[in-house]
Protein backbone atom coordinates (compact mmCIF):
# COMPACT_ATOMS: atom_id res chain seq x y z
CA UNK A 1 0.00 0.00 0.00
CA UNK A 2 1.51 3.32 -0.98
CA UNK A 3 1.25 6.52 1.03
CA UNK A 4 -1.80 7.78 -0.84
CA UNK A 5 -3.61 4.52 -0.27
CA UNK A 6 -2.72 4.58 3.39
CA UNK A 7 -4.11 8.07 3.72
CA UNK A 8 -7.30 7.05 1.96
CA UNK A 9 -7.61 4.09 4.29
CA UNK A 10 -7.16 6.39 7.29
CA UNK A 11 -9.70 8.85 5.88
CA UNK A 12 -12.30 6.15 5.27
CA UNK A 13 -11.94 4.71 8.73
CA UNK A 14 -12.23 8.05 10.43
CA UNK A 15 -15.07 9.28 8.24
CA UNK A 16 -17.62 6.50 8.44
CA UNK A 17 -20.06 7.58 11.15
CA UNK A 18 -21.88 5.35 13.57
CA UNK A 19 -25.13 3.98 12.14
CA UNK A 20 -28.16 6.04 13.22
CA UNK A 21 -30.15 2.96 14.22
CA UNK A 22 -29.17 -0.57 15.05
CA UNK A 23 -30.83 -3.27 13.01
CA UNK A 24 -32.51 -6.18 14.67
CA UNK A 25 -33.54 -9.50 13.25
CA UNK A 26 -37.26 -8.77 13.24
CA UNK A 27 -36.69 -5.83 10.93
CA UNK A 28 -35.00 -8.20 8.56
CA UNK A 29 -37.78 -10.72 8.58
CA UNK A 30 -40.78 -8.41 8.64
CA UNK A 31 -39.74 -5.50 6.51
CA UNK A 32 -39.09 -5.97 2.82
CA UNK A 33 -36.08 -3.75 2.43
CA UNK A 34 -36.33 -3.18 -1.28
CA UNK A 35 -39.78 -1.84 -1.88
CA UNK A 36 -39.52 -1.98 -5.64
CA UNK A 37 -42.09 -4.26 -7.22
CA UNK A 38 -39.52 -6.66 -8.54
CA UNK A 39 -37.90 -7.66 -5.31
CA UNK A 40 -40.99 -8.64 -3.42
CA UNK A 41 -42.61 -10.21 -6.44
CA UNK A 42 -40.30 -13.17 -6.10
CA UNK A 43 -41.24 -14.13 -2.53
CA UNK A 44 -44.85 -13.35 -3.34
CA UNK A 45 -44.73 -15.63 -6.36
CA UNK A 46 -43.04 -18.28 -4.27
CA UNK A 47 -45.77 -17.96 -1.64
CA UNK A 48 -48.39 -18.15 -4.36
CA UNK A 49 -46.74 -21.21 -5.83
CA UNK A 50 -46.59 -22.89 -2.45
CA UNK A 51 -50.24 -22.10 -1.85
CA UNK A 52 -51.28 -23.35 -5.28
CA UNK A 53 -49.34 -26.55 -4.75
CA UNK A 54 -51.00 -26.79 -1.38
CA UNK A 55 -54.43 -26.35 -2.92
CA UNK A 56 -53.94 -28.90 -5.66
CA UNK A 57 -52.45 -31.39 -3.26
CA UNK A 58 -55.31 -30.74 -0.88
CA UNK A 59 -57.81 -31.42 -3.64
CA UNK A 60 -55.96 -34.51 -4.76
CA UNK A 61 -55.94 -35.88 -1.26
CA UNK A 62 -59.73 -35.48 -1.31
CA UNK A 63 -61.31 -34.40 1.93
CA UNK A 64 -59.79 -36.97 4.23
CA UNK A 65 -58.08 -34.29 6.19
CA UNK A 66 -61.36 -33.07 7.54
CA UNK A 67 -61.06 -29.67 9.07
CA UNK A 68 -58.20 -27.50 7.88
CA UNK A 69 -55.17 -27.62 10.10
CA UNK A 70 -54.28 -24.64 12.23
CA UNK A 71 -51.81 -22.13 10.97
CA UNK A 72 -51.89 -23.52 7.50
CA UNK A 73 -52.05 -20.61 5.15
CA UNK A 74 -49.49 -20.60 2.43
CA UNK A 75 -48.22 -23.84 3.80
CA UNK A 76 -51.28 -25.96 4.06
CA UNK A 77 -49.79 -29.21 5.26
CA UNK A 78 -49.60 -31.07 2.02
CA UNK A 79 -48.29 -34.24 3.64
CA UNK A 80 -46.85 -35.87 0.60
CA UNK A 81 -47.37 -39.48 1.46
CA UNK A 82 -43.88 -40.72 0.90
CA UNK A 83 -43.67 -44.35 -0.02
CA UNK A 84 -40.53 -44.82 2.06
CA UNK A 85 -40.48 -45.23 5.81
CA UNK A 86 -39.48 -41.66 6.66
CA UNK A 87 -41.93 -39.11 7.92
CA UNK A 88 -43.82 -37.35 5.18
CA UNK A 89 -42.67 -33.86 4.37
CA UNK A 90 -44.87 -30.86 4.78
CA UNK A 91 -44.54 -27.22 3.98
CA UNK A 92 -43.78 -24.97 6.91
CA UNK A 93 -46.44 -22.26 7.31
CA UNK A 94 -45.85 -18.73 8.55
CA UNK A 95 -46.11 -18.35 12.31
CA UNK A 96 -44.90 -14.79 12.66
CA UNK A 97 -47.38 -12.38 14.11
CA UNK A 98 -49.19 -15.04 16.09
CA UNK A 99 -49.01 -15.08 19.84
CA UNK A 100 -46.75 -17.68 21.34
CA UNK A 101 -49.72 -19.71 22.56
CA UNK A 102 -51.41 -19.72 19.18
CA UNK A 103 -48.22 -20.49 17.31
CA UNK A 104 -47.19 -23.33 19.61
CA UNK A 105 -50.65 -24.84 19.43
CA UNK A 106 -50.72 -24.56 15.66
CA UNK A 107 -47.22 -25.95 15.23
CA UNK A 108 -47.85 -28.87 17.56
CA UNK A 109 -51.08 -29.61 15.80
CA UNK A 110 -49.02 -29.89 12.62
CA UNK A 111 -46.72 -32.36 14.34
CA UNK A 112 -43.65 -30.20 14.87
CA UNK A 113 -41.37 -30.53 17.82
CA UNK A 114 -41.62 -26.94 18.98
CA UNK A 115 -38.93 -24.98 20.72
CA UNK A 116 -39.52 -21.41 21.82
CA UNK A 117 -36.68 -18.95 21.84
CA UNK A 118 -37.07 -15.53 23.46
CA UNK A 119 -35.40 -12.85 21.38
CA UNK A 120 -34.98 -9.14 21.86
CA UNK A 121 -37.38 -7.40 19.54
CA UNK A 122 -39.46 -4.30 19.20
CA UNK A 123 -42.51 -6.37 18.37
CA UNK A 124 -45.28 -6.80 20.89
CA UNK A 125 -43.91 -9.08 23.64
CA UNK A 126 -45.13 -12.64 23.30
CA UNK A 127 -45.59 -12.56 19.55
CA UNK A 128 -43.68 -14.71 17.13
CA UNK A 129 -41.14 -12.67 15.20
CA UNK A 130 -39.19 -15.39 13.49
CA UNK A 131 -39.05 -19.05 12.84
CA UNK A 132 -36.66 -21.71 11.69
CA UNK A 133 -37.08 -23.50 9.29
CA UNK A 134 -38.40 -20.59 7.30
CA UNK A 135 -41.79 -20.25 5.68
CA UNK A 136 -42.20 -22.51 2.70
CA UNK A 137 -39.41 -24.94 3.56
CA UNK A 138 -40.30 -28.58 3.38
CA UNK A 139 -39.41 -30.58 6.44
CA UNK A 140 -40.61 -33.96 7.67
CA UNK A 141 -43.46 -34.14 10.12
CA UNK A 142 -42.01 -34.29 13.61
CA UNK A 143 -39.03 -32.11 12.75
CA UNK A 144 -37.83 -29.47 15.19
CA UNK A 145 -39.31 -26.04 14.69
CA UNK A 146 -37.88 -23.03 16.50
CA UNK A 147 -40.18 -20.10 17.09
CA UNK A 148 -38.53 -16.80 17.97
CA UNK A 149 -40.79 -14.98 20.34
CA UNK A 150 -40.44 -11.34 21.20
CA UNK A 151 -39.29 -11.09 24.81
CA UNK A 152 -40.80 -8.64 27.27
CA UNK A 153 -38.56 -5.73 28.21
CA UNK A 154 -36.46 -6.09 25.14
CA UNK A 155 -34.26 -3.05 25.60
CA UNK A 156 -31.45 -4.41 27.68
CA UNK A 157 -31.83 -8.00 26.75
CA UNK A 158 -28.97 -8.70 24.45
CA UNK A 159 -29.16 -12.37 23.80
CA UNK A 160 -31.74 -15.04 23.55
CA UNK A 161 -32.49 -15.76 27.13
CA UNK A 162 -32.24 -19.33 28.34
CA UNK A 163 -35.41 -18.93 30.37
CA UNK A 164 -37.28 -18.31 27.17
CA UNK A 165 -36.15 -21.61 25.82
CA UNK A 166 -38.49 -24.33 26.80
CA UNK A 167 -39.26 -27.65 25.33
CA UNK A 168 -42.90 -27.16 24.70
CA UNK A 169 -43.33 -30.67 23.51
CA UNK A 170 -41.26 -33.83 23.83
CA UNK A 171 -39.45 -35.08 20.79
CA UNK A 172 -41.77 -37.53 19.11
CA UNK A 173 -40.46 -41.03 18.72
CA UNK A 174 -42.26 -41.72 15.49
CA UNK A 175 -44.13 -39.68 12.92
CA UNK A 176 -46.83 -37.95 14.88
CA UNK A 177 -50.21 -37.58 13.33
CA UNK A 178 -51.95 -34.28 13.11
CA UNK A 179 -53.60 -33.34 16.36
CA UNK A 180 -56.65 -35.38 17.03
CA UNK A 181 -58.71 -32.32 17.78
CA UNK A 182 -58.37 -31.22 14.21
CA UNK A 183 -59.88 -34.38 12.82
CA UNK A 184 -62.21 -35.40 15.60
CA UNK A 185 -64.51 -32.45 15.12
CA UNK A 186 -64.84 -31.81 11.44
CA UNK A 187 -67.63 -29.35 12.14
CA UNK A 188 -65.28 -26.64 13.39
CA UNK A 189 -62.10 -25.63 11.64
CA UNK A 190 -59.05 -23.61 12.49
CA UNK A 191 -58.67 -20.37 10.59
CA UNK A 192 -55.69 -20.67 8.26
CA UNK A 193 -52.90 -18.10 8.35
CA UNK A 194 -53.25 -15.89 5.33
CA UNK A 195 -51.06 -12.95 6.27
CA UNK A 196 -48.39 -12.11 3.71
CA UNK A 197 -50.52 -13.58 0.94
CA UNK A 198 -52.20 -11.63 -1.80
CA UNK A 199 -55.79 -10.72 -1.02
CA UNK A 200 -57.27 -12.88 -3.77
CA UNK A 201 -55.28 -15.90 -2.73
CA UNK A 202 -56.09 -15.34 0.93
CA UNK A 203 -59.77 -15.22 0.03
CA UNK A 204 -59.56 -18.44 -1.93
CA UNK A 205 -57.79 -20.24 0.87
CA UNK A 206 -60.24 -19.05 3.48
CA UNK A 207 -63.32 -19.93 1.41
CA UNK A 208 -61.87 -23.32 0.68
CA UNK A 209 -61.43 -23.80 4.41
CA UNK A 210 -65.13 -23.06 4.81
CA UNK A 211 -65.04 -19.47 6.02
CA UNK A 212 -66.73 -16.35 4.73
CA UNK A 213 -64.37 -13.56 3.83
CA UNK A 214 -64.43 -9.79 4.16
CA UNK A 215 -61.60 -7.92 2.50
CA UNK A 216 -60.76 -4.51 3.94
CA UNK A 217 -58.55 -2.27 1.82
CA UNK A 218 -56.62 -0.13 4.25
CA UNK A 219 -55.95 3.51 3.44
CA UNK A 220 -52.28 4.41 2.99
CA UNK A 221 -50.50 5.25 6.20
CA UNK A 222 -46.98 5.52 7.46
CA UNK A 223 -47.31 2.35 9.46
CA UNK A 224 -48.28 0.31 6.42
CA UNK A 225 -45.72 1.53 3.93
CA UNK A 226 -43.40 -1.38 4.53
CA UNK A 227 -45.95 -3.99 3.56
CA UNK A 228 -46.04 -5.03 -0.07
CA UNK A 229 -49.17 -3.53 -1.66
CA UNK A 230 -52.11 -5.85 -2.08
CA UNK A 231 -50.91 -8.25 0.58
CA UNK A 232 -52.81 -9.25 3.70
CA UNK A 233 -51.07 -7.82 6.73
CA UNK A 234 -53.62 -8.69 9.38
CA UNK A 235 -56.52 -11.05 9.84
CA UNK A 236 -59.26 -11.53 12.41
CA UNK A 237 -59.91 -13.99 13.86
CA UNK A 238 -56.24 -14.82 14.11
CA UNK A 239 -54.81 -17.86 12.41
CA UNK A 240 -55.29 -20.99 14.44
CA UNK A 241 -58.53 -19.83 16.00
CA UNK A 242 -61.02 -22.64 15.91
CA UNK A 243 -64.27 -21.38 14.44
CA UNK A 244 -67.49 -22.72 12.98
CA UNK A 245 -67.64 -23.12 9.22
CA UNK A 246 -69.11 -20.00 7.69
CA UNK A 247 -67.56 -17.73 10.28
CA UNK A 248 -66.60 -14.43 8.69
CA UNK A 249 -62.87 -13.82 8.56
CA UNK A 250 -61.76 -10.25 7.94
CA UNK A 251 -58.50 -9.70 6.12
CA UNK A 252 -56.82 -6.30 5.99
CA UNK A 253 -54.93 -5.54 2.82
CA UNK A 254 -51.93 -3.24 2.57
CA UNK A 255 -52.58 -0.20 0.37
CA UNK A 256 -51.02 0.67 -2.96
CA UNK A 257 -48.41 3.36 -2.40
Amino acid sequence: MNAGEQRLSQLLKSSVPDPPHALSADQVTTRPADRSAKSWAIPALAAAAVAVIGLTAGVAASHHAGAPSPGAGAGRPTATASASGGCPEQTVPAFSGLTQTQAVAAAEALGYHVEVLAVASQAVPGTVVGQSPSVGSRVPRGAALTLQVSAAGEAGQGTASPRGRNSASPAPASCPTAAASATARPANGAVPAVTSLHAALAGTLLRRAGFAVTVVDSPPSAALRYFPPGVVYRQTPAAGTVARPGTRVTVYVAPKP
Binding site: G4, L8, S9, A22, V28, A120, Q148
Partner: protein, 170 residues
Protein backbone atom coordinates in the same frame (compact mmCIF):
# COMPACT_ATOMS: atom_id res chain seq x y z
CA UNK B 1 -31.17 -31.34 15.45
CA UNK B 2 -28.28 -29.12 16.52
CA UNK B 3 -29.32 -25.56 17.19
CA UNK B 4 -27.62 -23.28 14.65
CA UNK B 5 -26.28 -19.92 15.82
CA UNK B 6 -29.20 -17.63 16.44
CA UNK B 7 -29.97 -15.36 13.52
CA UNK B 8 -30.99 -12.56 15.85
CA UNK B 9 -27.58 -12.72 17.53
CA UNK B 10 -25.89 -12.70 14.17
CA UNK B 11 -27.80 -9.60 13.09
CA UNK B 12 -27.03 -7.88 16.37
CA UNK B 13 -23.33 -8.55 16.17
CA UNK B 14 -22.77 -8.02 12.47
CA UNK B 15 -25.22 -5.41 11.29
CA UNK B 16 -23.12 -2.51 12.61
CA UNK B 17 -20.12 -3.45 10.51
CA UNK B 18 -22.33 -4.19 7.53
CA UNK B 19 -24.06 -0.83 7.87
CA UNK B 20 -20.74 1.01 7.91
CA UNK B 21 -19.58 -0.83 4.81
CA UNK B 22 -22.95 -0.14 3.18
CA UNK B 23 -22.63 3.53 4.05
CA UNK B 24 -19.51 3.68 1.92
CA UNK B 25 -21.04 1.58 -0.83
CA UNK B 26 -24.05 3.84 -1.09
CA UNK B 27 -22.04 7.03 -1.00
CA UNK B 28 -23.05 8.05 2.48
CA UNK B 29 -26.80 7.43 2.28
CA UNK B 30 -28.03 5.81 5.50
CA UNK B 31 -31.49 5.01 4.14
CA UNK B 32 -30.07 3.15 1.17
CA UNK B 33 -27.42 1.58 3.36
CA UNK B 34 -30.12 0.21 5.65
CA UNK B 35 -32.12 -1.06 2.70
CA UNK B 36 -29.04 -2.75 1.37
CA UNK B 37 -28.11 -4.41 4.65
CA UNK B 38 -31.68 -5.52 5.27
CA UNK B 39 -31.94 -7.00 1.81
CA UNK B 40 -28.63 -8.79 2.23
CA UNK B 41 -29.60 -10.10 5.66
CA UNK B 42 -32.93 -11.19 4.22
CA UNK B 43 -31.05 -13.28 1.68
CA UNK B 44 -28.88 -14.70 4.45
CA UNK B 45 -31.98 -15.48 6.54
CA UNK B 46 -33.52 -17.45 3.69
CA UNK B 47 -30.44 -19.67 3.62
CA UNK B 48 -29.74 -19.48 7.33
CA UNK B 49 -29.88 -23.22 7.87
CA UNK B 50 -26.89 -23.59 5.59
CA UNK B 51 -25.13 -20.32 6.34
CA UNK B 52 -25.17 -20.86 10.11
CA UNK B 53 -22.99 -23.93 9.68
CA UNK B 54 -20.37 -22.08 7.65
CA UNK B 55 -16.97 -21.27 9.11
CA UNK B 56 -17.53 -17.55 8.50
CA UNK B 57 -21.18 -16.62 8.13
CA UNK B 58 -20.25 -12.95 8.30
CA UNK B 59 -18.02 -13.25 5.26
CA UNK B 60 -20.89 -14.84 3.41
CA UNK B 61 -23.27 -12.08 4.47
CA UNK B 62 -20.78 -9.54 3.27
CA UNK B 63 -20.50 -11.20 -0.07
CA UNK B 64 -24.27 -11.27 -0.44
CA UNK B 65 -24.41 -7.59 0.36
CA UNK B 66 -21.83 -6.73 -2.28
CA UNK B 67 -23.49 -8.85 -4.89
CA UNK B 68 -26.81 -7.25 -4.05
CA UNK B 69 -25.52 -3.75 -4.54
CA UNK B 70 -23.61 -4.66 -7.67
CA UNK B 71 -26.84 -6.12 -9.02
CA UNK B 72 -28.64 -2.96 -8.01
CA UNK B 73 -26.31 -0.64 -9.82
CA UNK B 74 -29.13 0.07 -12.25
CA UNK B 75 -30.65 2.12 -9.47
CA UNK B 76 -29.43 5.66 -9.81
CA UNK B 77 -27.28 5.80 -6.73
CA UNK B 78 -24.78 7.98 -8.46
CA UNK B 79 -27.45 10.45 -9.45
CA UNK B 80 -27.75 13.81 -7.78
CA UNK B 81 -29.28 13.42 -4.37
CA UNK B 82 -31.54 16.37 -3.74
CA UNK B 83 -31.23 16.64 0.01
CA UNK B 84 -27.62 17.00 1.04
CA UNK B 85 -28.11 15.87 4.62
CA UNK B 86 -24.93 15.34 6.44
CA UNK B 87 -24.96 12.12 8.39
CA UNK B 88 -25.25 12.64 12.12
CA UNK B 89 -21.81 13.06 13.52
CA UNK B 90 -20.69 11.93 16.89
CA UNK B 91 -20.15 14.48 19.62
CA UNK B 92 -16.71 15.97 19.61
CA UNK B 93 -16.44 15.65 15.87
CA UNK B 94 -14.24 18.43 14.67
CA UNK B 95 -15.34 20.78 11.95
CA UNK B 96 -12.46 19.62 9.81
CA UNK B 97 -13.58 16.04 10.04
CA UNK B 98 -17.14 16.93 9.05
CA UNK B 99 -15.81 18.84 6.09
CA UNK B 100 -13.64 15.93 5.05
CA UNK B 101 -16.54 13.54 5.42
CA UNK B 102 -18.72 15.67 3.22
CA UNK B 103 -15.97 15.88 0.65
CA UNK B 104 -15.52 12.14 0.81
CA UNK B 105 -19.23 11.50 0.34
CA UNK B 106 -19.33 13.79 -2.68
CA UNK B 107 -16.30 12.08 -4.15
CA UNK B 108 -17.67 8.60 -3.49
CA UNK B 109 -20.85 9.47 -5.39
CA UNK B 110 -18.73 10.22 -8.41
CA UNK B 111 -17.39 6.67 -8.39
CA UNK B 112 -19.02 3.68 -10.01
CA UNK B 113 -20.55 0.99 -7.83
CA UNK B 114 -17.65 -1.37 -8.53
CA UNK B 115 -15.12 1.30 -7.68
CA UNK B 116 -16.84 2.03 -4.38
CA UNK B 117 -16.89 -1.69 -3.66
CA UNK B 118 -13.15 -1.98 -4.31
CA UNK B 119 -12.40 1.09 -2.20
CA UNK B 120 -14.52 -0.23 0.65
CA UNK B 121 -12.97 -3.70 0.63
CA UNK B 122 -9.36 -2.67 0.06
CA UNK B 123 -9.04 0.44 2.18
CA UNK B 124 -11.87 0.35 4.70
CA UNK B 125 -11.76 -3.33 5.52
CA UNK B 126 -8.07 -3.76 4.67
CA UNK B 127 -8.62 -6.82 2.55
CA UNK B 128 -5.92 -8.03 0.20
CA UNK B 129 -6.30 -7.70 -3.55
CA UNK B 130 -6.86 -11.44 -3.77
CA UNK B 131 -9.62 -11.40 -1.14
CA UNK B 132 -11.25 -8.41 -2.78
CA UNK B 133 -11.20 -10.16 -6.14
CA UNK B 134 -12.73 -13.27 -4.57
CA UNK B 135 -15.55 -11.37 -2.89
CA UNK B 136 -16.33 -9.34 -5.98
CA UNK B 137 -15.99 -12.30 -8.30
CA UNK B 138 -13.51 -10.61 -10.60
CA UNK B 139 -9.80 -10.92 -11.33
CA UNK B 140 -6.98 -9.41 -9.29
CA UNK B 141 -6.12 -7.30 -12.33
CA UNK B 142 -9.61 -5.80 -12.33
CA UNK B 143 -9.29 -5.00 -8.63
CA UNK B 144 -5.99 -3.21 -9.26
CA UNK B 145 -7.28 -1.22 -12.20
CA UNK B 146 -10.55 -0.27 -10.48
CA UNK B 147 -8.68 0.77 -7.35
CA UNK B 148 -6.28 2.90 -9.41
CA UNK B 149 -9.13 4.56 -11.30
CA UNK B 150 -10.99 5.22 -8.08
CA UNK B 151 -7.91 6.74 -6.47
CA UNK B 152 -7.37 8.96 -9.48
CA UNK B 153 -10.98 10.16 -9.30
CA UNK B 154 -10.79 10.80 -5.57
CA UNK B 155 -7.68 12.89 -6.10
CA UNK B 156 -9.73 15.07 -8.42
CA UNK B 157 -11.85 16.22 -5.51
CA UNK B 158 -10.19 19.46 -4.38
CA UNK B 159 -10.75 18.88 -0.67
CA UNK B 160 -9.41 15.36 -0.85
CA UNK B 161 -6.50 16.03 -3.17
CA UNK B 162 -4.41 17.82 -0.59
CA UNK B 163 -5.07 15.19 1.99
CA UNK B 164 -4.42 12.23 -0.28
CA UNK B 165 -1.23 13.64 -1.71
CA UNK B 166 0.00 14.51 1.76
CA UNK B 167 0.21 18.24 1.20
CA UNK B 168 -2.13 19.12 4.00
CA UNK B 169 -1.61 18.21 7.61
CA UNK B 170 -4.38 15.84 8.57
Amino acid sequence: MAQPPDFADFVRSRSGAMLRAAWLLTGGDWALAEDLVQTALGEVWRRWGRVAGMAAPDAYAHKVMLNTCLRWRGRRWTGEIASAFLPESAAGDGFHQVEMREALVRALRELSMRQRAVIMLRYFEDRSEAETADIMGCSVGTVKSQAAKAMAKLRHAPALRDFLTGEAVA
